[in-house]
């Protein structure tokens, strides 16, 4: 598998422009779900930018709106009950929310592809892995089945599946969890020029030794193909391994955005700090008997008011927090925080870098 034809991802680094070129720009996205009990505002006034070749991680706990945000991009939100209330999603300058259904279908799988959490259920059980990948090729390009199938085998090889020609003829249940996730990644690459890969908790269901290998594979591929990665995770460990930039979400809102080093070294939002302190692997707990946990629970999105959603769990809370959602505070170098009291944050217990 030496020669790669034009249909296989371009492997030359930097082939698609520099890192500063904007690939995707979401502005003021609001997504709601209309359910029996009321309206859930799953994503509120969310803006984010993904540059070419960059890994942006969306981090937050369950229900924070990170998956909904991702599904807004390729418009896989079930509507109804979901509804994109306002905002725009510009991909290479085109507003995706204004495209026709067929235009969106043409973008999915070629420009914007996605991998999911559960490799067990995300592949169709009644088709072979090779057929499923070949089908993506055939859906977007004029290609004969045989050609598409041999391209599928090339991709399985690219994601380092041993004896790809044989594996292409396997059904998903015949593969291990790690192999299935690799096959999913191969499927997401079935395009002449992948632009953005959205990975929604891609390693959460995997064992840790498999997770490490899948994360390595994603990093390698990203470099080879120069695609951008939107990585959604709840795991700060995965963030530390993978991210260039990090967006921290809480209850539907963005609360902090910064590059990965700033997030870990100088978290400015009490929630970000709390997340880091909740990690048992945080070096500060080497000789400590207790974790510094965030008290309380995530608020019910149905009854959430206008104030800062973290107010009820925050140790730095002041009167204004419950009433007004904070303005963005630009801390320079692309570090932004949405907090009334960010100056009071006490990071003193945070271990210094050596």
């Amino acid at each position: 598998m030496t020669e790669r034809s034009e249909n296989i991802p371009n492997t030359e680094p930097g082939a698609h422009g520099s890192k500063n070129e904007i690939l995707l720009e979401m502005e003021n996205i609001n997504v709601s779900f209309y359910v029996q009990r009321g309206v859930i505002r799953a994503v509120k006034n969310l803006s984010l930018t993904i540059h070419k070749g960059e890994t942006l991680t969306l981090v937050g706990e369950s229900g924070c709106g990170k998956s909904v945000t991702a599904h807004t991009i390729n418009q896989l939100i079930p509507m109804p009950p979901g509804k994109i209330e306002s905002g725009s999603v510009k991909y290479r300058g085109r507003d995706l929310l204004k495209l026709k259904k067929s235009e969106i279908e043409a973008l999915r799988g070629t420009q914007i592809s996605m991998i999911f959490q559960e490799p067990m259920t995300a592949l169709n059980p009644v088709f072979t892995v090779g057929e499923q990948i070949a089908d993506v090729f055939m859906s977007h390009q004029k290609m004969k089945h045989q050609e598409a199938f041999s391209k599928a085998i090339e991709l399985l090889d690219l994601v380092k599946i041993p004896s790809p020609a044989e594996r292409a003829k396997s059904y998903p249940h015949q593969l291990s969890g790690g192999m299935r996730q690799r096959a999913m990644i191969a499927m997401a690459l079935a395009s002449p020029e992948p632009g953005l890969m959205i990975a929604d908790e891609p390693t959460t269901a995997l064992d840790v030794t498999i997770q490490a290998q899948i994360l390595d594979l994603l990093s390698d591929l990203k470099k080879k193909i120069n695609m951008s990665l939107l990585l959604i995770t709840h795991d700060m460990g995965v963030v530390a391994e993978m991210a260039d930039r990090v967006v921290v979400m809480y209850a539907g809102s963005k609360v902090e955005e910064a590059d990965v080093y700033q997030i870990f070294d100088e978290p400015c939002h009490p929630y970000t700090l709390g997340l880091l302190n909740s990690l048992p692997s945080n070096p500060k707990y080497k000789n400590s008997a207790r974790l510094e946990a965030i008290e309380g629970t995530v608020p019910d999105l149905l009854t959430l008011g206008d104030g800062c959603p973290f107010a009820n769990r925050c140790t730095y809370v002041s009167e204004i927090c419950a009433e007004v959602f904070p303005q963005a505070v630009d801390l320079g170098k692309g570090h932004t925080v949405w907090c009334h009291n960010y100056t009071k944050i006490d990071r003193s217990t945070n271990v210094e870098q050596d």
């Binding site: 390729n74 896989l76 999915r108 799988g109 070629t110 999911f116 995300a122 169709n124 089908d135 499927m187």
Partner: protein, 338 residues
């Protein structure tokens, strides 16, 4: 695969043994004396006794049962009291008529049922869905004989579009080749260019097919709808959509093949049940198949015929189930045979 089929065929033996036993005793214990029926009202006791001896009816029941089993094993179902023909021959003549009707009814029910089910599922909670599913409910609840009569009333009597019964225009001089009339008509057309047999056979099929196929159609449509809806919620459908597979392909390739498993089960079951539905339909449309024959035989107290007919139909039913199970493994790779 071969091993599996052989195993399943061996399992047929106890099943059929049960069926034969049940049928034999049900009929043997039912009131009425076949010898008396055969000889008619005027026969005297001696004649009847003579015939009873000839038929073996004077022997103890258990002995009769043993003899019957022995004959069935030799594929001898006995002779019809009414016609004196071998039961196996009677079945051989009528079987193609029943099968032809059943197959057409099933094709009709399957194709229309799946299309309606898929459409309903795709437009869930729309008027299309409500109308289709309402119609399906009516279809399930409608007695076959009533539907058959209504169809004859409208299309044969009022509109005079289609024949009321039979398999072929009786004015035509038609010599069956395979006894599957539509097929025969087609063969004649290809050989001689004469199309009237084909057209007539087809016209005669339409109403019985609709009458017989309506209930399975309704059941298939409902099963398809719920099965498709279930599959549409699966992660791999989201994967297919996220890969930009076109919606029609997502439905008809990615969803339907997964949704097919319960549908096939229902189709197999319904196909078996059609054979009993066929008794009514065949009788009303004067369709010379197994169903009508069993019906007539019951009236005539032609016990060997009834026994033979039921045993044959049961065997057929069990065989269809086997076919369904094999189809199952073809579609679902998880149960595929190594």
């Amino acid at each position: 695969m071969v091993k599996y089929i052989v195993k399943r065929l061996l399992l047929l033996i106890p099943t059929l043994f049960g069926v034969i036993t049940l049928v034999f005793f049900m009929i043997a214990l039912s009131p009425g004396d076949p010898a008396r029926v055969m000889l008619g009202e005027r026969a005297n006791a001696e004649q009847i006794e003579e015939l009873r001896q000839e038929l073996g009816l004077d022997k103890p029941l258990i002995q009769q049962y043993g003899l019957y089993l022995k004959r069935v094993v030799q594929l001898d179902l006995g002779k019809s009291i009414a016609t004196g023909q071998k039961i196996t021959d009677e079945i051989k003549v009528r079987f193609p008529a029943t099968i032809e009707l059943a197959i057409w009814a099933m094709i009709f029910a399957t194709i229309v049922g799946i299309i309606l089910g898929v459409t309903s599922a795709r437009r869930r909670n729309s008027w299309v869905d409500y109308t289709t599913m309402g119609g399906a409910l009516v279809g399930v609840s409608m007695p076959v004989f009533w539907l058959a009569l209504v169809l004859i009333m409208i299309f044969s009597v009022r509109l005079d579009l289609l024949p009321t019964g039979g398999r072929m225009n009786i004015r035509y001089y038609f010599e069956p080749i395979t006894n599957y009339y539509v097929l025969d008509g087609l063969i004649i057309f290809l050989k001689t260019g004469e199309s009237k047999f084909f057209i007539s056979a087809f016209q005669h099929l339409v109403l019985p097919t609709v009458a017989l196929g309506t209930i399975p159609l309704a059941i298939i449509a409902r099963t398809t709808r719920s099965s498709i809806l279930e599959v549409l919620h699966q992660d791999y459908i989201k994967t297919a959509r996220s890969a930009g597979i076109k919606e029609n392909r997502v439905i008809y390739r990615y969803t339907l093949k997964n949704a097919l498993l319960p549908i096939i089960t229902v189709i197999g079951l319904q196909f078996g049940l059609l054979l009993s539905g066929a008794i009514l339909t065949e009788t009303i449309f004067a369709w010379p198949g197994i169903g009508k024959w069993i019906y007539v035989s019951i009236g005539a107290r032609d016990y060997p015929a009834v026994q033979g007919g039921i045993i044959f139909v049961s065997t057929f039913f069990v065989l269809i189930n086997l076919v369904v199970d094999i189809l199952y493994s073809v579609i679902n790779p998880k149960v595929r045979l190594q």
